[in-house]
């Protein structure tokens, strides 16, 4: 097959490209330029779109002897990922930009362009496994290495997208990938993993949002009494479940710490309460995407609500574009905007964007 290997400049995508080549595919390396103004070498090398990263990717492509191109998707990334990120926080929700990037950029714009140019598929360094069924359909499964499993951020992929996707690292652990990269002579073998959000280089999400949304002073209100107990400079900067950064002392009467239990964007209010108010067992998700046909009736699933969170047993049923999820045990700190990914064993069944999380008796 003719395959585009998406090469970020990191160790994972380097080994993924090498493995595709070993498997006998015709491979072309593509680095996505996602930053509006590419950082210089003097700036931080974090994230995934610095000159240094593009250079690292090119170096690996040269070692593999494959053609290498940089595709500029910065304006699309800005619109579909960064502006979406700001709009979601502004509306009081907590988005996952990596998931959005996979949905809108890597397995949409990149894949579409690759297909238009005559390629058959895209390969990335994500840790997840694609299993081909006897009937030719493909399923997305968790990676072998639970510590690195990235099936959650790929949970938005449809069967059509999966049919054109390769994840050559899914059957290997990260330490083994690093060892393989060393054996292959890639000097990116010891390059640190990327963390956080690639377009927020210093990791200060609140500061980054404040630059774009400005200060919007408002009240911090107690969930039970309704009393104003503090002040904030922008409700958008708060996430359900958050404890730090509230600037509140321990409660005078009960001595318990306070958590954000709700963010009301319309009234610019942050609502705080004790930990017991954070537990939820019922979720409603919008924009449901099913990896294969939508399930019929109520199905037993495992539900995961954040990239590195645990899976909890649940039942789920589809309601048109929505999905209802009933958790068997309570989850804490589930914020609207997060995605819920549903698993059947190791298989990804589908995903949805959480619009409501609540406690039902």
């Amino acid at each position: 097959m003719r395959v585009v290997a998406a090469m970020s400049g990191g160790v994972d995508s380097a080994v993924a490209a090498a493995r595709m080549l070993d498997a006998g595919h015709e491979v072309v390396g593509v680095h996505l330029a996602l930053s509006q103004s590419a950082a210089t070498l003097r700036e931080s090398a974090r994230g995934c779109c610095t000159i240094e990263d593009a250079g690292d990717a090119r170096r690996v492509a040269d070692m593999l002897g494959i053609p290498f191109y940089v595709w500029d998707m910065a304006s699309r990334f800005k619109r579909d990922v960064m502006e979406d990120f700001v709009a979601e926080y502004s509306a009081g929700r907590t988005p996952n930009p990596c998931l959005r990037c996979n949905e809108k950029i890597k397995f949409a714009a990149l894949l579409d362009k690759a297909v238009a140019l005559g390629f058959d598929a895209v390969a990335t360094g994500h840790y997840a496994q694609v299993v081909e069924r006897p009937d030719g359909s493909r399923e997305l499964h968790r990676a072998l290495d639970p510590a690195k499993d990235q099936s959650y951020v790929l949970g938005v992929l449809t069967a059509e997208q999966l049919a054109r996707s390769f994840f050559p690292l899914g059957d290997t652990t990260k330490p083994e990938i690093r060892a393989e990269a060393r054996e292959r002579g890639f000097y990116v073998a010891s390059k640190p993993d990327s963390h956080d959000i690639c377009f927020i280089a210093d990791g200060d999400t609140r500061g980054w949002l404040t630059q774009r949304l400005g200060e919007q002073p408002g009240d911090i209100v107690d969930a039970v009494s309704g009393d104003v107990v503090g002040a904030h400079s922008g409700a958008y900067a708060y996430t359900v479940g958050q404890r730090r950064g509230l600037g509140l002392p321990r409660h005078a009467q009960d001595g318990q710490p306070r958590y954000v239990v709700d963010v009301d964007a319309a009234s610019n209010t942050v609502v705080v309460g004790t930990a017991d108010l954070l537990g939820v067992n019922a979720l409603t998700g919008d924009h449901a995407r099913w990896c294969g046909p939508a399930p019929e009736g109520v199905v037993a699933v495992g539900a995961q609500v954040r990239a590195h969170g645990d899976e909890v047993p649940a039942t789920a049923w589809a309601e048109g574009d929505h999905v209802q999820v009933r958790l068997e045990s309570r989850l804490r700190g589930v914020a609207p905007g997060q995605s819920v990914v549903l698993y059947g064993g190791t298989r990804v069944v589908g995903s949805a964007s959480i619009s409501s999380a609540r406690l039902e008796r």
């Binding site: 940089v70 238009a116 140019l117």
Partner: protein, 382 residues
């Protein structure tokens, strides 16, 4: 690289010797350097003493512009303005930008006409804004992207009316256009070896004897005190051999390459995809456009998609535009010529040389239709 240049260089690399030393080996190296200087000078219509060896085109351009500006300001602090064509190579553009941003220089950019020529009249107009403030005029001999050959002699005449010296980056013209430093009446001219089949990493700034240039690197005082640094005798020898051979064979080669170019362009225009040729082009004209340059605009395509598709079909070409962090940008040359940004993205530059054959042109023309159709489908995604 030309085999004769490789042989000459290899022979010289086996011989040690610093051309600045007084011992026997040093004298032998110096003799090679000076003979090479003479051979090179003869091939480009210059005097040997006018040839200042450098590390290549970028260094020569920087030395010419920074060195001339500094020297002219020393004589007259009011000479702070540079009159520069807007279609220069980045070695000139970025050097000028630096001088404007950090050294208090001013610049007047001279825009090319839609055919890709800098007119002497436009240079005159730029000078006449304030003739006494101009330190230097810089206009390239032949454009590296669209291949137009500039009227450097006429431009030099205009500038000299005002007593202003003129620099020309002739990197692209060396070995591909009749180059004669004396006849051009230029004051400074940049050339580099690899464009003539010589080695990478060596070039020269040709400096008219009366032209003051303030050194930009200081040290042992080699090269008329203008450019210090131990001379690379093997590279210089390879440089001279290559230029001599390229200039000798240029006219015969030019005729052959010109026919290839014209067939390529005519056939591409006839394909029916709305393809246009950038810059001045007339069949049979190798005087105003480099005989080996074909530059096409393919509407509705991204140049880098075409590049990939043609490369996969075994045709090597370039988009002709610079990259910023690896991201293709629309060419500043095309934009300066008035090409719309969207159209400039579909640029394709094909360079024909002594290894190009009729079969190469056939292969390109055969691969182009499928590449254009695919590239059009891919455009607008992302």
């Amino acid at each position: 690289m030309l085999p004769s240049a490789i042989a000459a260089m290899a022979e010289q690399m086996a011989v040690t010797g610093n051309a600045s030393s007084l011992h026997t080996a040093g004298r032998a190296a110096r003799r090679v350097v000076e003979e090479s200087r003479e051979r090179l000078a003869r091939a480009i219509g210059a005097r040997p003493s006018e040839v200042v060896f450098t590390s290549g085109g970028t260094e020569s351009d920087n030395l010419a512009i920074k060195g001339a500006l500094a020297a002219r300001r020393e004589q007259d602090p009011g000479r702070h303005r540079l009159v520069v064509s807007a279609m220069e190579h980045h070695a000139v553009l970025d050097c000028v930008d630096h001088l404007v941003a950090h050294e208090g220089a001013k610049v007047t950019w001279v825009e090319p006409d839609p055919a890709g020529f800098i007119s002497p009249r436009a240079v005159r107009a730029a000078i006449e804004e304030d003739p006494d403030s101009v330190a230097l005029v810089s206009v390239m001999w032949a454009n590296n992207e669209v291949g137009t050959i500039q009227p450097v002699r006429e431009i030099a005449d205009v500038a000299h009316e005002f007593g202003i010296p003129v620099h020309s980056d002739a990197v692209q013209a060396l070995a591909h256009a009749p180059l004669d430093f004396a006849a051009s009446d230029l004051d400074l001219m940049t050339i580099t070896a690899h464009k003539a089949g010589g080695p990478l990493g060596v070039g020269a700034l040709v400096v008219k004897r009366a032209m003051p240039v303030t050194p930009q690197t200081h040290g042992g005082g080699q090269e008329r005190q203008i450019r210090s640094g131990t001379l690379d005798a093997p590279a210089i020898r390879g440089f001279a051999v290559a230029v001599e051979e390229a200039v000798d064979g240029r006219e015969d080669e030019s005729e052959r390459v010109l026919r290839l170019r014209d067939r390529l362009i005519t056939s591409a225009l006839d394909l029916g995809y709305g393809i246009t040729v950038s810059g001045h082009w007339e069949a049979g004209d190798g005087i105003r456009r480099l005989s080996g340059n074909a530059h096409l605009l393919v509407p509705g395509c991204e140049g880098d998609s075409l590049l990939y598709l043609l490369d996969a079909a075994g045709v090597e070409c370039s988009t002709g535009s610079a990259c910023q962090a690896g991201v293709p940008q629309p060419s500043h040359v095309l934009l300066a010529m008035g090409v719309a940004e969207q159209d400039a993205r579909g640029a394709l530059r094909l360079t024909l040389g002594h290894t190009s054959t009729e079969a190469d042109v056939d292969a390109f023309l055969a691969a182009l239709p499928a590449a254009v159709e695919r590239a059009r489908r891919a455009s607008g995604i992302g």
